[in-house]
């Protein structure tokens, strides 16, 4: 850590990790509701649990991106953050808003109130005052990081990162626009969350990955930047019109089926490019960085994003397929692995990289951290495969054979039990991760004996 | 001069396309697509400077030829 203000990231990551724990625990509760539908049906109805699960995911990922920016920017721009005070105020607003959201969702105290009550749009249920708070915090953030970037060294990593963040903030404004026409409502609604995950968040992802590759592999900046621009170009090219794969189903004209199908088919390209990028950089890299866990998370991120977002996305993006699978467990399978691979692993990779530096100690906790990667990732892959099978059966019974929704759900019980099991693995992995980055002060597994060669490099002894 | 030659080639190929448009049948369809391929190759090589040497021209024209064959196949079945 070369700049004092990089420590801001620590506070962001702490809050993000806390929300991460909340998110996966709510996920587990929902997994249990799937197998035992009356569980907490009065206290915590499924839709409320789902809101908390998805909202906390998005908020902790946002906090992860903000924290990542506060860590990366000083190092790239070679100067301190413009105003650490503003950064903490921004975090304060987010924490307040998050608490407000949780209380509003759980107790619904101001039902129907225009400012204080929860708004009904899926994923955008936050009461208006929280939405305004997020917008204010976002403006503070963009002011703070743009001022830092403008005064410092300009690099491709900062440019792409800021481009992604500006896009994120501007697209948030559509959360305030809620036309009475349901089709228009849904269309603008997709512009928030969907143009985030398939558009501007990919830019943020590429920039953070590029930073990690620069640090972990020591590859030339020039090489990294070339890759970065290709990834950005293909992401925007495919992602913006690719969002059209939703439009027909919400009421837009039929030709959107083809625009959406064709462009979204190419959304796999930037994810493939990111995976190739990470592996080529590691292959070419000369640096033997001690933080192996960060490398595992980075590579895991690109592979799981390729499969979760790329392959599982393509699986049901063609409208002839989506006609049958829309909104089944296939969607849930894709959603879980895509978010986990692309964005959860990304933030966890950066947290793994930064934490030892911010806590000013060696990356001691490698083994526990890597164990958490394998536990969490296997759990998530298992869940994805389980839900894919569940979705296939569901599609056949419900959409092809015409069975009733709840009858079919009953028939999927075995899959839901398996999903619950994989959810347990994910939660344990998440808790293990949080423990591994925050607490151990020494390595849990001692390294084996080494032998020194004449040229000074060390190798494991036979 | 070389650019002029490419331009005249493209115009001649366009004339060929127009003539072929009036001929029915799978062979004429193949000829139309072959003419389109030649136009594409002229644009890639002549206007976009994809030289023969580096292999990049083939990287574009070979998939293009395979794809045009596919389009022809879909047309005649």
């Amino acid at each position: 850590m070369r700049y004092h203000s990089q420590r801001i990231a620590y506070a962001y990551f702490l809050v993000a990790m806390a929300l991460f724990a909340v998110q996966v625990i709510f996920g587990l509760i929902m997994g249990w509701i799937y197998v035992s539908p009356n569980f907490l049906s009065e206290l915590l109805p499924f839709n409320i649990a789902r809101m908390l699960h998805t909202n906390s995911l998005v908020v902790w990922l946002l906090l992860g991106f903000f924290g990542a920016t506060y860590y990366i920017l000083p190092e790239e721009a070679e100067r301190e953050i413009h105003s650490p005070m503003l950064a903490y105020i921004q975090l304060g607003i987010f924490v307040l808003g998050t608490l407000g959201v949780v209380v509003t969702y759980l107790f619904d105290l101001f039902h129907g109130h225009w400012l204080l009550g929860k708004e009904g749009r899926e994923f955008l249920e936050q009461p208006k005052w929280v939405k305004v708070g997020i917008a204010v915090a976002a403006v503070i953030f963009m002011y703070n990081v743009s001022m830092t970037a403008l005064k410092g060294r300009r690099t491709a990593v900062t440019n792409v990162l800021l481009m992604g963040l500006w896009g994120l903030v501007l697209l948030w404004l559509f959360a305030f626009y809620n036309p009475a026409n349901l089709v228009l409502d849904k269309q603008y609604w997709w512009w928030v969350i969907h143009l985030w995950v398939e558009g501007v968040w990919e830019l943020i992802m590429a920039a953070i990955l590029a930073f990690l590759m620069l640090k972990l592999t020591g590859v030339d900046r020039e090489v990294v930047e070339k890759w970065l621009y290709v990834i950005v170009a293909t992401a925007l090219f495919s992602g913006i019109l690719g969002t059209g794969h939703h439009y027909y189903w919400i009421g837009l004209p039929a030709y959107w089926q083809w625009i959406g199908s064709i462009f979204s088919s190419f959304e796999i390209v930037p994810f493939f490019a990111m995976m190739s990028f990470a592996f080529v950089m590691v292959w070419k890299g000369r640096r033997d960085h001690p933080n192996k866990a960060a490398l595992v998370w980075s590579l895991g991120c690109t592979v799981l994003a390729f499969f979760g977002a790329g392959v599982w996305g393509f699986l049901h993006t063609l409208h002839g397929v989506n006609y049958y699978t829309h909104g089944t467990q296939i969607t849930a399978a894709h959603g879980h692995l895509a978010f986990y691979g692309a964005y959860v692993c990304l933030v966890l990779a950066l947290v793994t990289y930064c934490m030892p530096l911010m806590k000013n100690r060696d990356p001691y906790n490698q083994v526990l951290n890597m164990a958490s990667f394998w536990l969490m990732s296997s759990g998530m892959v298992f869940m994805t495969v389980t839900l894919t099978f569940a979705g296939t059966v569901q599609t056949h019974l419900q959409r092809v054979e015409g069975g009733f929704f709840m009858d079919v759900q009953d028939g999927l019980a075995l899959f839901y039990w398996m999903r619950f099991g994989s959810g347990v693995a994910v939660v344990l992995g998440a808790l293990l991760f949080i423990y591994a980055v925050l607490f151990p002060r020494r390595e849990v597994v001692t390294a084996g004996p080494v032998q020194a060669h004449k040229d000074g490099h060390l190798e494991a002894a036979e | 001069m070389e650019l002029t030659r490419i331009w005249l080639t493209l115009l001649a190929l366009t004339a060929a396309t127009t003539a072929l448009a009036f001929v029915p049948g799978p062979a004429a369809a193949a000829a139309l697509l072959a003419v389109a391929f030649l136009k594409a190759r002229a644009i890639l090589g002549g206007f976009l400077h994809l030289g023969r040497g580096s292999g990049w021209r083939a990287a574009f024209t070979v998939p293009l030829a395979i794809w045009l064959a596919l389009v022809w196949g879909l047309h005649v079945i």
């Binding site: - | 493209l10 369809a29 400077h49 596919l70 047309h75």
Partner: protein
């Protein structure tokens, strides 16, 4: 086959390849859907004005020729000829769009809209998307004509040639293969 061997900006080539792939996917989808109703597709296609498309091909390749000349002039340092070439190329684009407007107006007057038949959905999507690129390309040509930096002119011309290239590939499947 190294990236350095690609003429001009590598990112332009990423764009060119992406555009080609998208249009190829669209044309392939059309050829696939055509199999469900060959007679209907042939009848729908017979209502188009192929001669306007042929005219537009001649216009567009000539316009591409002007862009290529402009690029060469710019590399020689001949700014005046470069600007004239770019202006003629853009003019060709405008002429292409004018013909296109006449063509679309005729189609619409004949009651042939986007939803009239699956063929027309593809027809409007493919040619409309291409026409949008022509419009955008005119803007790009104007933009690179301001500063006349050789590498920018080359990139602008490359975009224009891509638009040209896409058109010669759209022409037979959409207008001619009945």
């Amino acid at each position: 086959m190294r990236v350095q061997d690609l003429p001009g900006e590598p990112i332009m080539w990423v764009l060119i390849a992406s555009e080609l792939l998208v249009f190829a996917a669209g044309i392939t989808a059309m050829a696939g859907v055509r199999l469900t109703d060959p007679a209907g597709f042939a009848a729908a296609q017979a209502q188009l004005h192929g001669w306007m498309a042929a005219l537009n091909t001649a216009i567009l390749v000539s316009s591409g020729f002007c862009a290529a000349l402009a690029e060469r002039a710019c590399h020689r340092g001949d700014g005046r000829r470069a600007r004239i070439g770019l202006a003629l190329a853009a003019l060709g684009g405008a002429a292409f769009l004018a013909v296109k407007v006449v063509e679309y107006a005729g189609d619409l007057r004949a009651g042939l809209g986007m939803e009239s038949h699956p063929f027309f959905t593809f027809y409007y999507l493919l040619t409309g998307f291409h026409a949008a690129h022509v419009l955008f390309g005119i803007g790009v040509l104007a933009l690179v004509a301001i500063r006349l930096r050789p590498e920018e002119v080359q990139a602008g011309a490359a975009f224009w040639h891509m638009v040209d290239l896409v058109w010669v590939l759209i022409l037979p499947p959409v207008y001619l293969l009945g």
